[in-house]
Structure formats: C-alpha cells, structure tokens
C-alpha cells in the first residue's frame, strides 16, 4: 500500500511534466490542425537553457533557491518562447493552407535540425548539474517501506497547478484567450472580425513553448541530468497524452499527461520496467479503439 502511494506520487510528478508539454501540442493542434513534431525538441532546448542558467547562477554564487528558480524560469521561458516563435515563422507559416502533410514533414525536419543544433553547439555528452533542491519529507512510514515526497516533487506539482490556473485564466478570461479560441473555431471568420490571426497563432506557439520551458526547468531540477535526445521521447509521450485526453482539449491534455505518468510509474514498479513505453502505447491504442476521439475530446462531426 505504501509502495503504491509512493508510485502515485512519482507518477503524478512525471505526469505533470508530460501534461505541461502536452498542452503545447494540443493548443497548436487546436488552432492550426497540425502535429508540431518539433515541440519535444523545444522542450529539450529549454532544458539546456535551464542548465546554462543554473550554471551561471552557481558561478555568481547565488544561494537563495527561490531567487535562482525564478530567474531560471524567466530566462528559460523568454528564450524558449523565442524559439517557439521562430520555428512557427520559419517552418510552418509558409506552409499554412497547403496539404496537411507538408507542415508535418517540415516539423519533423525542424525537430532533426534542433536536435543536431543542440548536439553541435552544446555537445553530445550528458549534462549533469548539482542538485538544486535536496531532501524531502516522510509522509507515511510502515515497517517495510517509507513513503517520501521530495521537495522537488512537491515543487513540480505545485508549479504545475499554478501554471494550470494561470493558463486557464489566460484562455478563458483575457482578450488574448478569446482571440485564441475564436481562431480555433474559425480562422476566416476571426480574421473578418478584425483579429490578427497570424499574431494569435504566433502567440499560441510562444505560449506552448513557455509551458514546455517550465517543464524543461522542472526536468532539470528533478533529474539533474539532461542530454540532447530527451526531447524525442518526452515529445512522443506528451503527444500520446494529448491524443489520449482528446486532442484540442486543454483539460484533456493535462488529464492525459497525468494518466501517462501514472501508467508509466505503476507499470515500471509492478511489471517490467523495460516495457513501460509499450504499455503507454498499448493503452493509447486501447483507448482510441473504444473512444476514437480521446477521453475528453469532442467527436468530430463530418459534414458532407
């Protein structure tokens, strides 16, 4: 029982990160209907930015953890959203309105490009940083097993909850959110009503990238080691999460992320750890067979 609780906590931590990345996928899909394959690599870039920022802070002898975290988050969000913007501008905007597959291929190319850029400029070796947040507290202690929650885990869950609230507010209450949702429903109509569609799409990409940046900082804090290849698997998992929750649905993305995180940690704990990715995909197939539009997705209405 205690062991299961520990897995629950680990799964939630992992799931929060997947969920944050998944939101980027789902938003982009909702607004321009394409799979942004480079999103996982944007997340990877943000993790590298975070490592550089943490190292800079260490060199400057900043010892206050909250200060350091805030600084790293801001820096990472700023640069990563610039990357999100640039990727959209270079690789996707010229292809808007062409076939559905063209932006997908361009995105795959962008993903390969980003991975290799980082490999070339930052080196192919793994980057370890000293633990930023250490320790934790015991929740429950039984004779066989002690359930521990690391401060970093708590931090990740708390930040994810805060981000979710902020994000929901942004989408439902602000003018930008209204524009974003209107573009999602009907881009032509939105542009007729005086909404700058190009700018809204750019903002969407930047927003998705900033959430990925938060996830990137968290991964750096949580695992303390990154390499240029982490974007691929994280991206695929997050996209799976987005599809699982129903692509285009924001709460669905978070739900899907948490589910994938939980499945992964429980599967690795009780069954075979090496087949945890198989489990993720198998469950995805199962869900899609039973509910083809995901858990919270709206079924597509087809008009003839």
């Amino acid at each position: 029982m205690a062991y299961a609780l520990q897995q629950l906590i680990n799964g939630l931590t992992l799931g929060s990160m997947y969920g944050l990345i998944a939101i980027g996928y789902t938003m982009v899909y909702g607004i321009i209907g394409m799979i942004n394959f480079a999103h996982g690599d944007i997340f990877m870039v943000s993790a590298f930015i975070a490592v550089t920022a943490f190292t800079l802070l260490a060199a400057a002898d900043v010892s206050s953890i909250p200060l350091a975290l805030t600084f790293v988050l801001i820096v990472s969000i700023f640069f990563t959203s610039a990357y999100g913007w640039a990727v959209e501008r270079i690789a996707y905007r010229p292809l808007r309105g062409s076939t559905r597959l063209a932006p997908l291929i361009s995105a795959i190319g962008m993903s390969i490009f980003l991975q290799n850029t980082v490999q070339l400029t930052q080196g192919a070796r793994v980057k370890p940083i000293p633990p930023v947040i250490e320790g934790g507290f015991e929740v429950w202690s039984t004779p066989d097993f002690t359930v521990q929650v690391g401060w970093s885990q708590l931090l990740i869950i708390v930040i994810t909850v805060i981000m979710m609230f902020a994000f929901t507010w942004l989408i439902t209450q602000t003018p930008f959110g209204r524009q974003q949702r209107s573009c999602e429903q009907d881009r032509t109509m939105a542009s007729l009503l005086g909404i700058n569609v190009d700018r809204t799409i750019s903002f969407t990409f930047m927003l998705g990238a900033s959430l990925a940046a938060v996830a990137g900082v968290m991964v750096t804090v949580y695992y303390g080691v990154i390499d240029f290849y982490i974007g691929f698997l994280a991206g695929i998992k997050a996209f799976t999460a987005a599809v699982l929750g129903g692509i285009g649905s924001l709460p669905g993305a978070m739900l899907g992320g948490l589910l994938i995180g939980l499945i992964e940690s429980f599967w690795s704990a009780y069954l075979w750890a090496e087949y945890k990715d198989v489990a993720t995909f198998a469950i995805l197939c199962l869900v899609l067979m039973l509910r083809p539009s995901g858990l919270l997705g709206r079924p597509e209405v087809e008009k003839v």
């Binding site: 260490a58 640069f79 292809l95 190319g109 198989v278």
Partner: protein, 443 residues
Amino acid sequence: MSTVVFARHQVTATERFRDAGWVAFVALILGIPLIGLTTVDGGGALEVETRFGVLAIFVVVSFVGRLGLRWLIDTMGARKLERLRDDSNKSAGISPVKVVNILGWIALGASIALPIMYSDNRYVVDTATTVLIYVMLGWGLNVVVGLAGLLDLGYVAFYAVGAYSYALLSTQYGWGFWEALPVSGGLAATFGILLGYPILRLRGDYLAIVTLGFGEIIRIILVNWTEFSNGPNGISSIPRPSLFGLDFTRSPAEGEQTFASFFGIEYSPMHRLIFLYYLILVLALLTHAFVSRLRKLPIGRAWEALREDEIACQAMGMNTTNIKLSAFAIGAMLGGFAGMFFAARQGFISPESFTFTESAIILAIVVLGGMGSQMGVVLAATLLVLIPEFGRNFSEYRMLLFGAAMVLIMVWKPSGLLSHREPTLRLSRGGAAINDAVKEAAQ
C-alpha cells in the same frame, strides 16, 4: 468587366535593411543561449563558456543572408509577374507528364549502366544500393500514404519485421534468401493487417500516432526480448543471397561452385556488390510494376477514392475495411521485402537501424517527392540519401543539413517536387460526346 492589374509594391532599401535588422535581432536572441553560451565539463562541475565571436558571425550571416534572400525573392517574384503579363495565352510546350516519363526512362537507363561504369568504385555502388532501398521503401509507403491516404508514421516496423524474419530464418533454420523471400513478405503483411485491424476507425492524426506507437513497440520488443532477437547486440553473420545457387565467396564450399569459378573469371569482392545492386534494382522495378498495375485495378481505384473522400466511398457501398487493410498489407509486404534485402546486404542487423528517424525519412521521401508520384519518390530518395553523403566531409553537420533540407524543400515546394496529380480515371471521349448530346438535347 474587370481587368487584372499586375502591380508590385516597390521595396525601398530602408525597408530591406529594417527587415534584415529584425532577422538579425531574432538571430541574436536565438543565438545567445545555444551559440553564445555553452557549458563544459570543468573538472567535476559544469562551467559556462562564452563564444561571442561565433555568435557575432552568426548574427552578421543572418543579416546578410536575409538581405540576399529578400532580394532574390523580390527579383524572382517580379520576373514571374513579367512572364505572367507577357504570355497569359501561350501554351506550355511539352506536358510535364511527358517530361517525367522521359526522365523516368533516362533514370532507368542510368541505373542499369551505373555499376558497369563504376565497376571498381565500391563507394558509388554502395550508395546507389542505399538509394534503391529507399526508393523501394518509398514506393511501398506510397501505397499507404500516397494512394490510400492513410498517414503511417511507423512504416519502419514492417521493414524491421522483414529484416528480422530473414535474419532469424537464415541463422536459426538455415533458410536461403529465395525461400525466405515470400515468407518474410507474408509475415510483414500479416503484421500490417494485425496493426491495421484495430485502428480502422481512427483517422488522420490519431492514425499517425498509433502507427508511430506501433513502430516503437516493435523496436522496444526487439531491444528487450533478448532470447528472441539477441537484443541490442543484433544478429550478425546473416547469409548473403546467391545467384541460382552460386555464392559470391572467394573459395567454393564443398561440392559447390562460386560465381567466379562458374563463369571462369577472377574473384573480386565487387561482384557481390554489383549483384546486390542489380538485385535491389530488380526488386524495386518489380515493386514499381506491381504498384502501377494495382493502380489500374479496382483495388487501386478504390484506394484513391478512399484518399479523396471516405464518406463518399461508404455511400457508394465500398467496403472501406477491406480497402484499408489491403493497403496496409501490401505496403507492409513491400516494406518487408526491402527489410529482407537490407538484412541480406548488411549481413548484420540490430534495433538501431529501425528507429523512428528511419520512418520519418521514408515518409519524408514520399511527401517530398509529391504524394502518389512514383518518379517523385525516386527524386526525393536520391536527394535525401545524397545530401548527407555530400556532408560526409564535415560529418557532424550531416544530420543538421538533412533536417534543414527537409524544412527548406517543404517550404519551397509544399506539395512535393513532382506534384503532378492527375486523376487516373477521366471521362473518355465517349463520355464527352454524351455530354455534348445532353447539352444539345437541352437546348
């Protein structure tokens, strides 16, 4: 009454410079975290290193590059307008379909002649064989994506099934290449149906992610199920194919003859390479003939109809389940053949060769070539194999170039290099005559 006026806003130098300045500014922001700063291992802990010189060069290059690109785009655009203004009525000369046909024959002649011309150049023959493997894979995937319009991101799974089935059959049970060929293809097709069946209801991007997942599942199983596939170490010493029982070895086995001794020529390791090249050429041409024939059969028509409109297909009483499954099965079978050839050619396979990147490259070949265009696949496969080869001298930049080329080609030609999409079926003259008759009757 309206007239079209071709006019173009004249771009001033200030505007150009401002534009390039913006690009340089963005380049600076993007460059700071990745180019300007880097972390290096400084004895235990990471240390930050600055490379502002490289960053400055990057920014300047972006500025100049943007100026040049803008100028190029504007001049090209102006010239295009000029042409439009001049000849709105002139006919285009030879039709593009004919050009592509002629190109196809030239390519065929060149590919037959190539090993003769380069019979002592191992590198050229090897690279050409790789190109042909990708051409074959592209043609196989073209059935699924280009004709049936089903987006498959896990095509490499069938490639892996073909490769592993030959590797296991030959090393464990002593099967030869030719006996194993139908079995590998059949196994791959079975996997295609197995994958296809549960996901028939899915469409578009859901299908994409499930096929991607399937590809990864196969790879993970190959890595982890060590007793079956020897895990990440892969399977080595896979027997090479023989020509009607003639091996391509230096000395013949007991009571058998080698290729060299049978024809009474001196042994050369090039014989085998050239044989492999012709083998894949024949396989690829058979694939081409097979797919072109299929396109003219009812099933091929059904695929294209499905691609254009699934609901209309259902309304016409077509069995979409069978149509989709047959596309998956045939695509998978062709992938399996290619995989089998790959295993026989390399003599060694491991899960490393069947990653998602491989699927992405094959899909890129189909899409870059122009969906459904057979010649386009050849062109795109040649380009995508040769671009990294040219980059071999500065090998770290190979994949970087590859990714950039994918983006640039797509942005430049969004519908593919040869995107001439002709309806395979059109109204015959008889149909037109009926049309005229109807019109006359109406008057």
